[in-house]
């Protein structure tokens, strides 16, 4: 129950409450660029969701087994093999007391490398074996390499995995629902922009400005979900009915 609840929270958080695009501003370029038609937007959204999941899987694996402090060479082993070195590096390892190999400095390079390579691999694979799919979907893949949403998800996962909070399932949940949230936002935006094709937007605002203003209003609408995470958690995890659980401070409408 508790695991499910925490997964639900991660999912809700990534898709609605802290929508990747509308709250964290990642993936803005495709959000502005590929949101002119609903079908293209949907394709982009699905492509991002797919790639983000693949990248999350790879980066989680790399983080867990290579990059995380103590991952490559377990602390115990390190201490056994190089006890003398332990003293020398003691200052750096600090209070934890366990000196070990920390490759997390490499994480950015490794991630972007992994993302770029896997996107390219997927692209080549799809182009070779599913030409129709490539025509409708594959054209987005090169765009995704430089989509910050992917790297952002990887970094979030890195943070949690380093802190030993999340496992693979949580990481994947974040990735998939982050992608779903991105898809939701970009498809809503595409619907609105198709509608705006028929509208008589002032010339100075036509194009990017009105898209940004629409994004602002969309973000404003999504603010309705603010605080939902905590309240859902309360309802699901702490079980006692809401009425019995009095918040310590009255909810302030603004926060």
């Amino acid at each position: 129950m508790e695991t499910l609840a925490s997964l639900l929270l991660i999912a809700l958080g990534a898709a609605l409450i802290n929508n990747f695009v509308l709250t964290y501003f990642v993936g803005i370029c495709p959000f502005l660029g590929v949101s002119k038609r609903i079908d293209l937007a949907l394709g982009m959204g699905l492509a991002v969701t797919f790639v983000i999941s693949v990248a999350a899987l790879l980066s989680w694996t790399l983080t867990e087994f290579v990059l995380r402090p103590g991952a490559l060479v377990p602390t115990a082993v390190w201490n056994a093999v190089a006890p003398a070195a332990g003293d020398a590096a003691g200052d750096a390892a600090g209070a934890a007391g366990a000196a070990t190999v920390d490759l997390s400095v490499l994480s950015y390079i490794v991630y972007i490398f992994v993302i770029a390579s896997s996107v390219q691999f997927v692209e080549m694979y799809v182009r070779r074996f599913f030409p129709p799919l490539y025509k409708s979907f594959g054209i987005f893949l090169p765009l995704i390499t430089t989509n910050c949403a992917i790297l952002f998800a990887c970094l979030e996962i890195l943070k949690r995995v380093e802190a030993r909070e999340w496992g693979l399932v949580e990481s994947l949940t974040l990735a998939v629902f982050g992608g779903v949230g991105f898809t939701l936002a970009i498809v809503l935006m595409a619907g609105i922009r198709e509608e705006l094709e028929l509208a008589d937007v002032p010339k100075a605002l036509a194009g990017a400005p009105i898209t940004l203003i629409t994004a602002a209003l969309l973000a404003l609408a999504f603010m309705g979900f603010v605080g939902m995470g905590a309240n859902v958690e309360k309802a699901l995890v702490e079980q006692p009915p809401i009425s019995a659980e009095r918040p310590t401070s009255p909810p302030d409408s603004g926060r």
Binding site: C29, L32, A116, C148, L155, L205, P209, I213, A215, A216
Partner: protein, 217 residues
């Protein structure tokens, strides 16, 4: 397109306003929206981005003859990633609070389209001097963009500028401006204002020099 192209000085000037990366090319939107709730983080961001942009441009320009065409984007990305890591570590070491405030947006400089675009369009084809001028110009343009967005947002949202109080006590603060919708709104309205302004300028320029049939011919 840029085989010969403009000179270093022209590129420098162009990057600032006429081809401003944010306002005119709509690149680097992510940091423009994400870290501009206040001016200070915005300036830090600009500094980090400028560092990466300049270093990457110079390096790419130096190795431009070694680039394999179909792997060039990967090389750019890795170069940028390296410099971003350096910037990130430096920030974490000397400006810990700021580094925490900027959160994931410093590593996200890696995928800032602005930098890749400069590497691709300019540095990979130009000499070091030109690439450097270009990078500095674009960095200044980025500075202009982020500073303007951040100024509007901080003053309207919190009544301060660089943390210094600007608006008198009694004026209500529009807290929305430091929130996500405010970021989109500010950038959208500023873009619109710039469009309107340059449209008017173009019109004025056109009417200032009346064209006659003879001239047209």
């Amino acid at each position: 397109m840029n085989d010969s192209g403009p000179t270093a000085a022209e590129r420098f000037v162009r990057g600032i306003l006429p081809e401003n990366p944010v306002y005119r090319q709509l690149l680097g939107m992510c940091p423009t929206l994400a870290v501009t709730a206040a001016v200070k983080p915005a300036l830090t961001m600009v500094a980090a981005t400028a560092f990466v942009l300049i270093c990457a441009n110079v390096l790419v320009s130096l190795i431009r003859r070694l680039l394999v065409p179909h792997l060039r984007i990967l090389v750019f990305t890795l170069t940028i990633a390296t410099f971003v890591t350096i910037a990130d570590r430096v920030l974490a070491a000397y400006l810990y609070e700021m580094s925490k405030a900027l959160g994931p947006y410093v590593p996200l400089i890696i995928v800032n389209c602005m930098i890749i675009s400069r590497c691709e369009v300019c540095a990979s084809k130009q000499t070091v001097g030109v690439a450097l001028a270009d990078a500095v110009g674009v960095s200044l343009g980025f500075l202009v963009a982020l500073a303007s967005v951040a100024t509007v947002r901080e003053i309207l949202g919190m009544g301060t500028w660089m943390g210094l109080p600007v608006l008198p006590e009694g004026v209500p603060r529009l807290v929305l401006f430091v929130m996500p919708p405010g970021a989109f709104l500010t950038l959208g309205l500023l873009l619109g204002a710039i469009n309107a302004w340059s449209a008017r300028r173009a019109r004025r320029r056109a009417s200032a020099t009346p064209r006659t049939v003879k001239e047209a011919a």
